[in-house]
């Protein structure tokens, strides 16, 4: 397995290189110009040209690319054009809220969705099954921001149980302030993932429940709980784990709406702000970072298959 991991890690290098080149070119060829945003609404065209020169944006794209790759090789993602801060510092400032929100969402989702999906499969066709499916459809259909606003209005404004917005670090402010700020975003974000994973779990478990070995287990007199947990769920785990893994990757890069609705200073908002301002180094740095996370998560998912299915060997 060790040699497989090494091979997979080495295989990521060309992927990263292609992503880097593609992102760099896409940004340079897309409309918009950081110099005009920096100069502000009341600057002249002459000012914009001078700022472009000072930022090195007038240099040929190949020269800019070579410089960027050179810095990248030394682990330097560059300096934000606007804030003048290193991209690594900006990612460092924003990574904790996003990671914690991802973690709480995935934990809550798994705790709710897997039992719900298993139950629905076990009681297929019953009112429980229909209830779970109804929730899934609703979960997919309600936009995240609508759910967020409803929760804020009811829980934060009317009941005044939780704060409207913001993020408090568990390490700086303690557990309770952290929980108070993360509960509503977690609930908001979990709904769609609960819907997705519950459906996936239901389908996988239902399929496994039709297998001969499940009938054999039942014939041997095993309890339904054992049949479900030991035989059905474990064998249905591979597609469920894949979806959970993809969910984590999506959450890390795609929680911009939730972060905006709850004013959480995470990576999603950093990407959006950078795109609107055309802050090239941040966009490039973040896309590379997200690519790396995707690759890493995929590797972990692939490796985790061996835990659930002994037939899989690397």
């Amino acid at each position: 397995m060790f040699s497989y991991v090494i091979k997979r890690i080495l295989a990521t290098i060309p992927v990263i290189v292609i992503v880097a080149a593609f992102v760099f070119l896409m940004l340079r060829l897309s409309p918009g110009d950081p110099a005009s945003v920096i100069a502000g609404d009341y600057a002249t065209a002459e000012d914009i040209v001078r700022i472009r020169e000072a930022l090195g944006l007038n240099e040929p794209i190949l020269v800019q690319f070579t410089k960027w790759v050179g810095s990248l090789m030394q682990g330097d993602l560059g300096i934000s054009i606007f804030t003048n801060l290193p991209v690594t510092t900006l990612i460092g400032q924003r990574i904790e809220p996003t990671l914690m929100l991802t973690l709480t969402t995935i934990i809550f989702t798994v705790l709710v969705a897997v039992p719900l999906g298993t139950l629905a499969a076990w009681k297929a066709g019953s009112w429980i099954d229909r209830g779970v499916m109804l929730f899934s459809v609703a979960g997919f259909s309600v936009p995240v921001f609508v759910l967020g606003y409803i929760l804020i209005y009811v829980v934060a404004i009317k009941l005044q149980w939780l704060p409207v917005q913001g993020y408090r670090s568990m390490f700086e402010h303690g557990l309770w302030p952290f929980l108070r700020h993360i509960i509503m975003p977690t609930l908001t974000l979990s709904v769609i993932f609960i819907a997705l994973i519950a459906r996936m779990t239901r389908a996988s478990v239902m399929e496994v429940l039709q297998e001969d070995y499940v009938r054999t287990a039942r014939a041997k007199g095993q309890s339904e709980v054992k049949v479900l947990l030991r035989h059905a769920l474990r064998n249905a785990a591979v597609p469920i784990v894949t979806v959970i893994g993809i969910g984590i990757a999506l959450l890390i890069g795609g929680v911009v709406v939730t972060e905006s609705v709850y004013n959480i200073p995470g990576l999603g908002r950093l990407v959006l702000d950078a795109v609107l301002a055309r802050d090239y180094p941040i966009i490039q740095g973040l896309i590379l970072f997200f690519s790396f996370i995707y690759i890493l998560i995929n590797l972990i998912i692939d490796l985790s298959y061996t835990l659930f299915d002994p037939r899989i060997r690397y």
Partner: protein
Amino acid sequence: MLSWTKRRFLTAAAVAIPLALGSFGTIGQAAAEKVLRVIPHADLKNLDPIWTTAYISRNHGYLIYDTLFAMDENFKPQPQMVDSWTTSDDGLTWTFKLRDGLKWHDGPDVTAEDCIASLQRWGKRDGMGQALFGVVDSLTASDAKTIVMKLKQPYGLVLESIGKISSNVPFMMPKRMAETDPFKQVEEHIGSGPFMFSKKDWVPGSKVVYLKNPTYVPRSEPTSAAAGGKIAKVDRVEWTYFPDQTTAMNALISGEVDYFEAPANDLMPILSANADITVEINDPLGNIGFARFNHLLPPFDNAKVRRAALMAMKQEDYLAGAVGDKQFWKTCYSVFPCDTPLDNNVGSDIMKTGDIDKAKAALGDSGYDGTPVVIMQPTDVPILSAFSLITAEKLRKIGMKVDVQAMDWSTLTSRRAKRDPVADGGWNMFHTWWIGADVIDPMAIAFSGNPAKGWFGWPTDAELEKARTAFAVATTVEEKKVLGKKVQERLWAIGASGHLGQFFTPVAYRKNVKGLIKSPVQFFWNMSVD
């Protein structure tokens, strides 16, 4: 006697509960400290108010830097860092003496050399600064506290320039910072103003923190706009940027923030109905809607076509359509903001009726050949997006072919700098707004008639430039008023731009906030929280 298990549980609880609840020390400290929690109008992306003209950087500048002169509520420059000043009889030598007690945030005294370097850097970026330095013969320090400015010719806007209220404001910085290339950002953020920037607390895109400057010595005069005593009445000013207006409103309602600088007009009914919140217009000049033609490209290279388009524009339609509630806008047919010293009505009849038939006839006489008009529509700025669609509709009604091209504001700001033909990425028209303070007199770049150095759209009119130059050297109020009218007459005569009326963005704050300063710029000194 407690069992071992119980004891262990209680010990663990004694350690864990305070940890879970957060640091008591921090809570106690926070209670003693007066904090003004603000939702600013934008995210503070860069910290150098000379490098950028962004208003949020200007507001940041006012917190940490100070100015030699500052505009009062009657738009008259008053001394701020300057204690006394004299002008020679021929008007060519100006001597400014700095007041006592001025210190940089890192300790040293403010010197004349620092101020000279700061003025020189500003003079390379700002339009009024460039005009001033065009007549400056020398700028020297006769001693540590005295600045001597010698002019080549008398100039009527010396104090108005160095006391300019809006971007770029001539903020004073230590010499080592002011020697930075004006087209590059300063690396440090040391000023001599009433608050200090806390770099360690800065999270771009989210939070900015300013701490009270304990060594700041305010002037003794009462606060008046940017002038007078700048008294820091809170220990900390915290800006938290909210990308979502609804969440910002909810945070104000729930008391998590104290002050909301620029709530969207559609939130006003909810905010106004809340007994704990005050909604008021704090900026007496508001914003001026602006429709800009590209004078270099057909069909708007023809003044007759531009004037025909202006005839179709009716301010009420724009303001009601884009801003909405009548209490937040008013028509204003002066190119300078209404109720300011140069407010006048010369030549502005062209925009008063919005008469489509008359405009159609004028277009027919103009020689318009059916060239399509490309209007850039910034869909991420709702007011400007609406302005674009209203203009498109009006131009179509008078018989013009219109191509509205949707884009984001960043794309628009880069594309509008292009002088190329439309086929090569050029444009014919876009909309924006100016804050009233930025177009208060003919020196505003918006009114330039010099295409080489002027603003996007590049009007060309020698007479206009002559009147602007004469305004700059005029020394009496009467002269300035006459020249202001002359500039306005030329602007309407050449159909330089459409002026779409004045609209206001109110502020909203909780009842515990006191001491707001009425001004076109948001200041945070004098404000307190109970």
